[in-house]
């Protein structure tokens, strides 16, 4: 069963009549029989030398959803079933001299089917050890259908199979994302500290991060094939560290860390659709792009009369991509922290990582047909080897010049470089159509590598097109990316009194980015049409590096190409901050940073940046607190032919009202405004229609230039009301409500109906909730809660994706649970 089918089935199962279950579960709550007093605070049980507090909350969730179950699972993914909502054990030694431990804390939630399971264990014995463990599991389901969607139109395919040949090709519309994911991430962090208060401490750590599970991906080779990807990545990190306190108020640490990263993802193409058959009844994968008007996957995709797939079309029988990626990076780190001098404190850190990366047994093997090149079988293999080297040095110091005045300096140095080489051997076999096996040529000239022919290959002369790749190619790509960065922040800080303080400073940042690309090719072009590609005749003559062989083939040895680039960026920033605390109950702070750079690495990297932040908290009275914040970000790369301007403004306030112990209200609102515009170049020409009346892109013939404007305005409001009318009962009602509206440039301005729908850019995401806690006996609390998750996108009028694959959903969740604390 495919992943989307599973999602739909679970959604159907969710639509149960949960009302009777709710009633049944609430029944014991309404019988307020054994009524003890509401406990103010969990006292715990004292046993032997320990105070033990435990609580467990368990129950079930009942879910009813309508609309798009895939979007529900992507955003919420809370499903029906029994759950452990929480389990906590706390043990504390009464005399702080426990036998094995003095403190233990063990907390869990989410087990039984929730997408997020978390466990945390902290255990320690004073002066001897402290152990901290955290385990997290994340069921990462992702199927928001617009992601990587080709947005196929509903144009019918003449002679196509059912669903494709009708007046409206609804089967063309993809209702699942071609990049769907149903992976499971597990994160574990385990740290042991020996002699926490000793002059010498030993630290041992282990972390493990795994991602496993099925996903979809796509590959573009003629058509866009939907691939099944089996994710399997693992990162193991081992750490040994020691802290020395040899001087007063000074700590020196040394760490050895080993990070071992394994990637064993496997991509295959199991998606041969039985509806799409060749005349020999062989099923093929035509990919996910179906656009008859644009000849996708090819012109006359289906043959007249028979409905068979056109054998010269782009289509695939199988695909394989696999390699065992291993990255092994040891790191050494030395750090220092000292308050040895009375007027100074320091922190410094230096680390060096130098590791190897390899991809073993790499293989990529498409089998089918790429009509542009006549490619039928290809096998690409080869070793990949590289290095990952990082050196960093950090230094931070504060000079307490007087009680009020301080000077702060923070320096950061980082230098990393990634040189990686791929020596690929590609063997390509060609045929004129999907029904004909590849012809295998037997050269007398020496090819750069030997190639095993495909099992169905026949001896003969391959049928090449002008775009066919070399039949055998050994290519060495050796690339480098490097960055050297230095940042220094110097600040002067003055505290006028306990009520006001300010700081002013200057940040300088220099970056040097180097990239290098080195490539050599040793290839052979077999006949027919051997003079193609790099050896295509120029004025009737073979280009440099090409040698005609006696068997009709042409050998090609490229001159080594070497392309390097350097980018230097200098940034200067003024920083300023001021805080007031006129009374204990009121505080307000203001920070700003004004940056100017002389260069930008990308067009969207700001050359000028302004950031302003104001935050305030005011406790007006014991029963009323107010919060407010303003964040303004302005960025610019406003140079010729870029014209980038963008901003992100956020304004918010919140109020907490608690007039008495029985009533608590929290309410807030935030407005967020994101804007950008930038000149972009693109091509958009609908068949038979003139191009948009916009100016040509400078120096790129065929592209047009236009100002791309993006707006996104969001309103977020929330409230949470807690009422305790009697000591046994607490009721809660609240909501988190987000509404977003925005606009963006249309890339198909000639079309009456846009291909790309605005989707989540104009949407509402609503989560109201409410419930009751009823303490029906000593230590026992029954809980009944309702949550509603609603997602709605404003449709784009007439757009195919919004007509046939809307992503809206509504979900009602009822959660019944019992908590026992003792």
């Amino acid at each position: 069963m495919s992943v989307p089918e599973q999602g739909r089935k679970s959604a159907r199962n969710r639509r149960v009549a949960w009302a009777p279950v709710v009633m049944a579960a609430l029944l014991p709550l309404s019988t307020s029989m054994v009524l003890g007093q509401q406990e103010d605070e969990q006292k715990g049980v004292e046993q032997d030398n320990y105070n033990i507090k435990q609580s467990i909350e368990f129950g079930g969730r009942f879910t009813s959803t309508s609309g798009d179950p895939q979007a529900y699972n992507t955003f919420v993914n809370l499903r029906q079933g029994a759950r452990l909502f929480g389990f906590t054990t706390e043990m504390r030694s009464l005399n702080h001299h426990g036998t094995l431990f003095d403190n233990l804390y063990f907390n869990n939630f989410g087990y039984g089917g929730d997408p997020y399971d978390v466990s945390r264990l902290r255990i320690g014995k004073n002066r001897w050890y402290s152990f901290d463990a955290m385990f997290r599991k994340d069921q990462n389901f992702w199927n928001y259908s617009l992601q990587a969607n080709p947005l196929n139109p509903t144009t019918p395919f003449p002679n196509g199979p059912p669903g494709y040949d009708s007046t409206t090709c609804t089967a063309c519309v993809l209702t699942n994302s071609p990049h769907l994911q149903s992976t499971r991430r597990k994160l574990g962090d385990y740290n042991l500290l020996l002699r926490p208060d000793g002059n010498v401490r030993l630290r041992l750590g282990y972390a493990r991060n795994t991602v496993e599970g099925p996903a979809f991906s796509t590959i573009h080779q003629g058509t866009e094939q939907l691939l099944h990807e089996n994710w399997r990545t693992t990162v193991n990190t081992y750490r040994v560290g020691v802290d020395f306190r040899v001087l007063p108020r000074t700590n020196i640490s040394y760490d050895q860390i080993l990070t071992y990263n394994k990637g064993d993802n496997l991509q295959t193409d199991p998606n041969q659709n039985p509806l799409f058959q060749l005349s020999n009844s062989q099923a093929v994968d035509l990919g996910v792009s179906f656009n008859a008007g644009a000849n996708q996957p090819c012109s006359s995709t289906f043959q007249a009369g028979t409905g068979f797939v056109n054998p010269v079309c782009n289509a695939y029988f199988s695909y394989l991509d696999h390699g065992r990626a291993r990255t092994n990076v040891p790191t050494e780190q030395l750090s220092l922290q000292s308050n040895y001098w009375k007027a100074w404190d320091f922190a410094a850190r230096a680390s060096y990582s130098g590791g190897d990366t390899d991809v073993f047994d790499y293989v990529q093997s498409p089998f089918g047909r790429e009509s542009r090149t006549n490619l039928r079988n290809q096998l690409t293999t080869g070793p990949i080897h590289g290095r990952h080297v990082t050196a960093t040095a950090d230094f931070g110091a504060t000079w307490h010049i007087t009680n009020q005045l301080s000077f702060i300096d923070l320096f950061h140095y980082s230098n990393w470089h990634n040189p990686v080489r791929f020596t690929s051997t590609a063997c390509s076999f060609f045929s004129p159509d999907l029904l004909t096996p590849a012809n295998v040529f037997s050269p007398t000239a020496t090819p750069p590598a030997s190639c095993a022919p495909p099992t169905d290959g026949t001896v003969g002369t391959p049928v090449h097109s002008n775009s066919s790749a070399p039949d055998v190619a050994v290519v060495i790509n050796s690339n480098l990316l490097k960055q050297d960065e230095k940042t220094n922040l110097a600040e002067l800080e003055y505290q006028f009194s306990s009520k006001i303080g300010m700081r002013v400073g200057y940040r300088y940042r220099h970056r040097a980015v180097d990239d290098g690309f080195f490539a050599t090719t040793n290839a052979i072009f077999f006949p027919n049409n051997a003079a193609r590609g790099s050896c295509a005749l120029v004025s009737g003559v073979l280009p440099e590096g090409c040698t005609q062989n006696a068997d009709g083939s042409i050998s090609f040895v490229s001159p080594a190409s070497n392309d390097t680039g350097e980018t230097f960026i200098d940034e200067h920033a003024a920083v300023f901050g001021i805080w007031f605390r006129p009374t204990r109950d009121f505080r307000i702070s203001f920070d700003t940073e004004l940056m100017s750079a002389d260069n930008a690495f990308t067009r969207i990297s700001p050359r000028q940046l302004q950031e302003y932040r104001v935050r305030s908290k005011y406790k007006v009275a014991d029963w009323l607190s107010l919060n407010g914040s303003v964040t303004i970000f302005e960025g610019r790369n406003n140079v010729f032919q870029v014209n980038d301007l963008n901003h992100n403004h956020a304004y918010g306030f919140a109020a907490m009202i608690q007039p008495n112990e029985k009533l608590g209200i929290e309410i807030g609102y935030e407005y967020n405004d994101v804007f950008s515009h930038i000149l972009i170049c693109y091509i958009s020409v609908a068949a038979g229609q003139p191009g948009p009346d916009i100016q040509a892109c400078p120096d790129v013939p065929g592209l047009e230039q236009q100002l791309s404007t993006y707006t996104n305005k969001s309103h977020y409001g929330f409230f949470d009301i807690t009422v305790t009318p009697v000591r046994r009962v607490t009721a809660r009602l609240g909501a988190n409500l987000t509404g977003t509206s925005g606009s963006e440039l249309r890339l198909d301005p000639q079309a009456l109906i846009p291909n790309a729908v605005t989707g989540s850019l104009n949407s509402k995401y609503l989560h109201p909730y409410g419930g009751v806690d009823y303490r029906f006996a000593k230590s026992w609390t029954g809980k009944a809660y309702w949550d509603y998750y609603g997602y709605h996108e404003d449709p784009t009028t007439g757009a195919v994706q919004d007509l046939f694959a809307t992503r809206n959903f509504r979900g009602n969740l009822v959660t019944l649970s019992v908590r026992y604390a003792f």
Partner: protein
């Protein structure tokens, strides 16, 4: 292309700074803390240095005589049950490390003054710097707190006790005043809304915590971000498949960081992208301009008919070992 500038300025400043520190004769305390409380108050150039004179200290049991139920019922019991109580059990260190007086300073004058509040350090009206100085006297071990004095929190007068409550913690772990992320939202209200968007990191759900990415106690990096153990961007701790290194790097990922394309807290755009439609995001860099290295899209990428999503073909957009156009991993 602009020429590289001299980097002397950035390298020299900390060096001079360190030299001054080492050579300044009056600045070294060298384990010679102020002798008494008055001197301690008057001392300039100073962080908190507790008095080592044992006669100034009275011990926690004396404090208990008045503070057993003051200022609130069970006040002393709460302290007795807390991790800080273990300081009273340390027999090796001096009285300035023990019990209540380890934080509040010597209590003799306060006791002799009949409980005069001005004779002892109270945290109520102290500045963040004063408070953090007290706490950091003990909590300076290791990298986690090593830059707290230079953190954005202290610089905005946010002290340890704005988040931690030694006497009345709501969350026993780390004596937090409130559980995260609500505690963080209390000041950082602007991040509450992104975590309530449809596309978000699962912070409200309890899977991800603010301090997974940020170190609330400060750090060497901007925005107090954490890095991986190999000093790469902290995002790679979970998203390790994007870390590489790759034969063909998407350079912006490594040079400008994930935030070049993604809004890490949450957005209304799929995959936390900064634009709703991925093509528009790609085209913002992949368009001609005189000083941008990213190539423009080819003229056969007709946006009116196909290639509606760049990532459908360029699926390995974060970097690839086998395809210079990021078609395959």
């Amino acid at each position: 292309m602009p020429k590289p500038r001299s980097l002397c300025a950035s390298a020299i400043a900390p060096t001079i700074f360190a030299l001054i520190a080492i050579t300044m004769p009056g600045s070294a305390a060298g384990g010679r803390p102020a002798k008494d409380k008055n001197k301690e108050k008057q001392a300039s150039h100073s962080k908190y240095q507790p008095s080592t004179d044992p006669s100034q200290y009275v011990g926690a049991e004396v404090c208990k005589t008045c503070h057993e139920d003051m200022p609130s019922k069970g006040f002393y019991k709460g302290y007795e049950d807390s991790p800080h109580f273990v300081t009273t059990l340390d027999t090796k260190k001096g009285p300035e490390w023990h019990g209540c007086e380890a934080c509040h300073g010597p209590g003799k004058e306060h006791v002799e003054g009949g409980g005069d509040k001005s004779k002892i350090f109270t945290f109520k009206n102290a500045s963040a710097k004063e408070i953090s100085d007290r706490c950091l006297t003990c909590h300076t071990y290791g990298e986690e707190h090593s830059n707290f004095a230079r953190s954005a929190h202290v610089q905005n007068n946010v002290s340890c006790i704005d988040c931690h409550s030694p006497h009345a913690a709501k969350d026993s772990q780390f004596l937090m005043k409130e559980k995260a992320p609500q505690l963080c939202y209390g000041c950082h209200q602007e991040v509450k809304q992104p975590f309530n968007r449809p596309f978000r990191h699962r912070v409200n759900e309890g899977l991800v915590q603010c301090n997974d990415c940020h170190n609330p106690h400060g750090g060497f990096l901007n925005r107090q971000l954490r890095a991986t153990s190999t000093q790469d961007t902290g995002c790679f701790k979970c998203h390790s498949d994007k870390a590489g290194p790759f034969v063909y790097e998407h350079e912006a990922v490594k040079v400008e960081g994930c935030v070049a394309c993604h809004a890490p807290h949450g957005t209304s755009n799929p995959r936390l992208l900064k634009r709703a439609q991925v093509n528009l995001l790609c085209l913002e860099c992949h368009a001609f301009s005189a000083d941008a290295g990213a190539p423009a899209i080819p003229t056969f990428h007709n946006q009116a008919q196909k290639y509606q999503a760049c990532t459908m073909c360029h699926a390995a957009i974060h970097g690839s070992n086998s395809s210079h156009v990021f078609f395959t991993p």
